[in-house]
Structures are given as C-alpha cells and as structure tokens.
C-alpha cells in the first residue's frame, strides 16, 4: 500500500502537485496566483520538490519576458499518485503505516 509522502503532504505542495499533474507544465506566476502565495514561498516549495526529483523548473524567454515553467517529473507524477492513493486509504479507514 502506498505511504503518505512527507515531501508533498503540506497543503500548498499537494495542491501544487495536483495542478501540475493535470498539465504538462505551468508558468510559475500562474501557480503563485492560484496558490495565493508569495514568489518566495512558491520558490521554496518548488526548490524542495526539485531537490527531491519530483519537479523540474526551466527558465525560458517567452513573449519577450524571461519566465519560469514548472512541470512534474515522472517520479513526481508517481509520488503524487501514490500520495493520493494513501490519502484515499486513510479516508477508507485503512491504516497507513509510518
């Protein structure tokens, strides 16, 4: 049974991963606005997930501006899916070992 992942358990990170799981990549500013957090807070979340190999961040010149695009890696996609499965198991009353 999948276990809860401490790296994506925080609400902002879980919602960040949820949004990234539904797209190929997303602009940093869009994620910041949707999560209603500051640039620095989102940067910290993204950096932690990048360090874990769950997220990839790339800078690109887009529409005349330098923008950052964030995407889930295959490992991040799996970690998110496993975490959601673990949450469902908790909801269903199953024990999640930790």
């Amino acid at each position: 049974m999948p276990a809860l992942d401490p790296l994506i358990h925080a609400p902002a990170r879980l919602q960040l991963c949820a949004m990234l799981a539904s797209v190929d990549d997303a602009q940093f500013s869009l994620l910041r606005d949707r999560l209603a957090v500051s640039d620095s807070v989102l940067s910290k979340h993204v950096a932690a997930l990048v360090d874990a190999g769950y997220v990839r961040a790339r800078k690109a010149l887009f529409d005349g501006r330098r923008t950052t695009w964030v995407s889930l890696t295959p490992a991040g996609r799996k970690a998110y899916a496993d975490h959601v499965a673990a949450l469902r198991a908790v909801i269903d009353g199953a024990s999640v070992g930790h």
């Binding site: 809860l4 401490p6 358990h9 925080a10 609400p11 902002a12 879980l14 919602q15 991963c17 949820a18 949004m19 799981a21 539904s22 797209v23 190929d24 990549d25 997303a26 602009q27 500013s29 869009l30 949707r34 999560l35 209603a36 957090v37 500051s38 807070v41 910290k44 979340h45 887009f62 529409d63 695009w69 996609r77 959601v84 949450l87 469902r88 908790v90 909801i91 269903d92 009353g93 999640v96 930790h98």
Partner: protein, 165 residues
C-alpha cells in the same frame, strides 16, 4: 492559503485526509475549468492538418519534379512553424501547456486522431501520385474536419475527467 511551510502531521484523520484531497482535486478541476482555447484554435488546428495532407499529396505527385520536391518540405516546414505559433498562443492565453499525449482518457482522442491523420496522409500521398486531385481535395477537407472535431472532443474529455475526480 497560508504561506506557512510547516507540514501537517503525517497521520491525518480520515476527515483531514478528505479535506486535503478535496482541496487538491478542487485546485486541479478549477485549473482545468479555466483552460480555454484561443480564438480560432480549432480552425487553425484543422488548417494545420489540411496543410500536412496537402504536403503529402504534393510529395506523392512530385516524382522528378523539382518544384514539387521543394514545395512539399516547405509546406511541412510551414506546418511545423504554425504548430509552434499555436502552442505559443495557447501558453500565452492559459499559462500552461497540455500536450495531446498528456496522461488521461483524453489521450485516446489524440491516438485516434494520429491513426486517422496517418491513414489520410498515406491516402493523400497516393492520391497525389495518381494525380487524383479531386480525391486530394476530399482528403484535405476530411483531415481539416478531423482536426477540428478532435480538438473539441479532446478538451471536452479532458475537462470531464478532471471535473469527475
């Protein structure tokens, strides 16, 4: 949302787990609901496929004709550039990119379109080789219609999938 970096306890109650999951799925479905195609997206995508199929017909008809041999790659290159423009417009409008091959049920629509366009490409090539330009015309129109229908269907399936979670 709080800007706190602190994580909640890793042994949530069923109610806490349900709340966390609901918030995540809500963020996901909200994002999907706000995604929209730029104006003329479907028609532009249809035109893109029409151009690709016309290039196949010109390639089939070219034989030793240098003009045809040059025109087909130029048309294909134009289609590739048009694809880049379309992707850029989508990204600018939505702040996200979702390829047709994104994991999920909508990917089946993409694969169906790939099969249809692949078959039409071969048909256009041989119709061009046979100088059956009336048939090429029909194939190009069919490709354009397939592109328009598939892009609309893809978006509907994508949204329904995320809304239904």
């Amino acid at each position: 949302m709080s800007e706190s970096n602190s994580s909640p306890a890793l042994d949530p109650t069923p109610a806490e787990a349900a709340a966390a999951l609901h918030a995540a799925e809500h963020a996901q479905s909200d994002l999907a609901a706000d995604v929209s195609s730029p104006p003329g997206w479907d028609a532009a995508y249809g035109a893109l496929f029409a151009l690709i199929l016309a290039a196949a017909a010109v390639l089939g008809a070219s034989g030793d004709n240098l003009v045809g041999q040059i025109a087909s790659p130029v048309m294909s290159l134009t289609a590739a550039m048009l694809t880049g423009v379309l992707v850029g417009r989508w990204r600018k409008r939505n702040g996200v990119w979702i390829s047709g091959y994104h994991p999920g049920p909508a990917r089946r629509v993409t694969w169906a379109l790939v099969v249809v366009i692949g078959a039409l490409w071969a048909a256009a090539f041989f119709a061009g080789r046979a100088d059956a330009w009336w048939l090429v015309g029909l194939i190009v129109v069919a490709g354009m219609a397939s592109g328009i229908v598939a892009t609309r269907r893809w978006m509907a399936v994508y949204r329904a999938d995320l809304a239904g979670r």
